[in-house]
Symmetry: C2
Subunit: 230 residues, 2 copies
Amino acid sequence: MMHHIHLSDVQQSAVEMLEKTRVTRVYTAGERLFAQDDMPDGMYCLQSGHVLLWHSDTFGYKTSFKMAGPGELVGYRSLLGDDNHSATAETLTACHACFFPKKELEQFIYSNPTVTRQFFRILARDRGPPDALLLRGQHLSIRIRLIYLLLIMKARHGQYEDDGTLVYNLPLSRTNIASLIGSRPETVTRTIKELKRDGVVFFENRRVIVPDPKRLFKEACIDSVPTGDA
Amino acid sequence: MMHHIHLSDVQQSAVEMLEKTRVTRVYTAGERLFAQDDMPDGMYCLQSGHVLLWHSDTFGYKTSFKMAGPGELVGYRSLLGDDNHSATAETLTACHACFFPKKELEQFIYSNPTVTRQFFRILARDRGPPDALLLRGQHLSIRIRLIYLLLIMKARHGQYEDDGTLVYNLPLSRTNIASLIGSRPETVTRTIKELKRDGVVFFENRRVIVPDPKRLFKEACIDSVPTGDA
DNA sequence: CGTACCGTTGAGGTGAGTCAAAGTAAGTGG
DNA sequence: CCACTTACTTTGACTCACCTCAACGGTACG
């Protein structure tokens, strides 16, 4: 789900204002766009690189719930909810990110019903029940959750080769993966080994290869192959 | 978090239209406002009673993720996301619910930035990372998750007595509770027993009594007691 | 006075977490 | 080019919180 906003009939003045006030910055891996409990002062649009969003609970456990890539917006939930950030956004790789200050951005959002609607869609579709529940349901084994993670990442981070192979370049450590599916790095390693043994998924460093995607869908009990953008 | 929309300076025509087209209906326990995969044709506002929202995954497992009570809106996520319903809304008790048809409702939402903003808030604050993650984090024991459930329900469904006791009337079965925190009815029973033994929480049928709320907060590592509406 | 549903209790099994240690890869500085 | 550090990954052995299955008790309702 790309976050492209259609600008066709938006008030020209609002767009110009937005263009004038936005700031593009370069980040190195491991930097933070914002931290949990910060007051949001704007929104970020990733132009290149990847960002991981994680929440730290009252016991200090960190749980990741989203990886954002090029073209995606980051930091909109708390901004639109008038809340402090409920998560920290940390770069996984070097990134180019564009920052839109709150005031001008809001003017833009409300400038036109079409734009408003786009933001409603982004917000409403962001990790709805399905995603969050599939990745953390106790009744689902780690193996299945790992497969679901790949299926969810497919739309934005996966790519089909000519021979039907599915390939990902995921800048995620075992620890990151564990954090996303509610598990532990050791268990992720073991599960990855198991998937390789069964010939379903091959993890080579940060590169993931799925020779026969249909087998993956079948194991997750998904018959109809979901298409890229939904 | 109540879903009261402030109508002070909304276009009168939009409000009138909304008032004219809304339909109030009475439901008995066990009825469905809408079902997963249905196309949304409007939104519901609960006037009395309680509704449980649950998602059924590809393996047929049902996972509940929200209980809505009087004053709350139901069915907005899919409507605003232009998606089919990703959950089923089933009444736990007899209910009065008011239905707003999609077309007129959208006119209302876009009629005024103040209203639009309210809906952004509702959507953005609906089960943000904290809620969903706390109730399903594997690293948290069932006991802690049960406590978190009570803490989350406190704002809307809990009530302080004069003596500082916290009392809930939750129309939830053990199975419902299990489904909300990602567990099983048997385990919920055992955990409830344990909490009673420790004198922290007393479940009497569908009535829940917390004699010393501070102990509850402490066990969940929450120092600052969250206030009702945020 | 069944029937049906919900809740409780007990016994037993296991998937995945934990802990500890060794292996690997990448980066740094002399 | 090679020691040295640092961070990540893998492996094995052990443990346990929770699930599963099965039986029983309570309560509502026609």
